[in-house]
Structure formats: structure tokens, C-alpha cells
Symmetry: D3
């Protein structure tokens, strides 16, 4: 169990590979999460559309915007 | 418009104030986001339960967990 | 109003686009801020030199160096 | 020389100590930076008002807001 | 399997609880890692000295200092 | 002296340059740290295999995983 308070189950929608970084889009219900990880991580996890994954976010990384 | 790719509309559920930091829980549909911001930020925004806010997360802060 | 305590008004000096990431340099008075965001964010904001923007930084991301 | 692209020389304006975290405000010319670090860090550096320090920020932590 | 490239097995040395945040020290061989997480996370994981844990760090959070 | 609590002396093992980002692997004893920094930072520090460096990590960026 990891300490990150934000863990959301979803499905990989797309993976875009750059030379060093990769952009992964994850669908969680009606929401879409965008994640930028290293390309080597994306390859180590063999991420591809349809994969069941969790988007994981440490609470110190969440900002609040009040209109 | 802020560059963060992850912006989710929700409602403040709770605010816990420490001396330096504050923990804010935001309900977004069925999901709960936990945010740790400074107490001075929470006070500057006058955050309280029921407030309509957005949880905002930079994509470089989103990890992917594949079981 | 976003919770991030560090918000500095400036002007975009340059935008360098990679495949996944983009580097944006923002001039704030005498200072230069360097930001690495996703390319899709840079394109969504249509960032180009001369744009008036704010550099926004969460206080938990600021280190202190005392010589 | 540290890899962080954002390094700004300034002076400590205030230090607020909590149990675990500390909030440090640094004046850089006309700007004010707010930093949240651990209390043990603030004590290890013996931070106090008037200290000459640098605020240091990794470029992946800088968001861009375009009104 | 989580995407973070830095995962180091160790043992909890100490846990200090504040109102909102907690400081956890983890011994990994000869090294000591310091982690600041929310108190609720520390309690959810029931962290205590001697626990076998991993320190997990996303590669975008690692700076390089070259003397 | 920088406020980051995690500072580990090691040696650069490899540097992979992308257009915007770079991936740097640092060997610290038996451990390997992976760092994603901007290409311009990697070039400013002239990072190459064999360089003696420190991997530096702010404690708010360290997650704890308890199996």
C-alpha cells in the first residue's frame, strides 16, 4: 500500500512516446488524467491502450483553484 | 488558463488546519482528492466545506500503477 | 484564485517544443523562469514569445539554499 | 552547481515553524517567494530573517498561467 | 508495478507526527531517506519503526548537483 | 547548503538526451537513481558518465510503500 492519498482506477486511453518522456492518458469514469513519465517507465510497464491502471498522486502535488 | 492538464471540478468536503500546512479534501463526482497546501493558502482562499473548487495537478506529478 | 503562493507576472521569452515536453522561458522583471510542461499544454495555451503569462509555483516545490 | 534552472538570490523575510513543516518567505527584489520545507531542514540551515539565501525551483515544477 | 523509477527497500527508523504532516525516516543500507507525507497517510499505513517499506521517488523529482 | 534532506553522493552512469528533457542515471553504492532534468540543465552541467555528483531530493517528493 503506497502512501499517496490519491489513487484512481482507470484505463489507459493513449500512450505517446518521446525520446526521454512519454505522455499517458488514463480514463477514470468521466475524467481524463494526463501523466508525463519517462519513456523507460512506460516501456518497463509495457503500457498500451486498454490496460487497467491506477493514476497515483501525492497530496502535496494537488493545488486548489477557487473561482 | 493554466497549463496543468488535470483540472477537476468538485466541492470542498473538509479542511483541516495545522500550524503550517492544511489538508483539504475535495469531492469530484464519486472520487475524493486530498490536497496538502499551506495554511496561509487555505486561509487566503477562505476554504470551507461546500466551496466549489477545482483540484489542479501538473501531469509530471501523476504516477501510473499497473497491477 | 489558485492556492499556489508563488505567482509572478511576466512575458514569454521563448518556447522550445519537443515530442512530449516543451521548455518555456518567462521573463519576470530582471529574472528568468524556466518551465517544463507538456507539449500539449504549450499548444493548448498557444504559447509564443511576447505572451503575458504568470509563472506559478506551489510552495512545497521551493527549496532554500544557504551558502 | 545544481541542475535546477530557477535559482534566485534573496533574503529570508520570515520563518514560521510548525511541528513537522516550516514556512519560509524569501524576498527577491520586489518579489516574495514562499517555501514549505521540513522543520528539521529549517533548523539544519538555522534559517532566520536577514539570511542571504537562494530560492531554488526545478523547472518541471513551474506552471504557466495565460489569462 | 508503479512507474516511479526510484524504489529502494528499507526500514522505517522513525515517525514524527504533526497535525497535518508527518516526517518518516527510512534507512536503506547506509543511506537515510527523509519523507514528508500527510499524517493521515502515515496513520493509514500504520507506520512505525522497524516496518519494512520502500522509499519511492518519481524521476522528475530528482535533481543533480555537480560540485 | 541546500534544504533538501535527501542528498546522496554517486557517479553518473549514463546520460540520454532528448529534445527538451534528459535522463540521467546515477550510481550510489549499490543503488541506481534515475533523474529527469531538462536537456539545457544536463548541458549546463556538462554531465557525462563518471562525473561525481549528488542526487538531491526534497522530502515532500518521497512516497512510502508498505507491502
Amino acid at each position: 500500500m503506497i502512501s499517496a492519498r490519491n489513487q484512481f482506477k482507470g484505463k489507459v486511453k493513449s500512450v505517446k512516446l518521446g525520446e526521454v518522456m512519454a505522455e499517458v492518458v488514463v480514463t477514470v469514469g468521466d475524467l481524463e488524467f494526463v501523466s508525463a513519465i519517462t519513456r523507460t517507465s512506460a516501456e518497463a510497464l509495457a503500457l498500451k491502450p486498454g490496460d487497467e491502471v491506477k493514476a497515483v498522486i501525492k497530496s502535496t502535488e494537488v493545488l486548489i483553484d477557487k473561482p
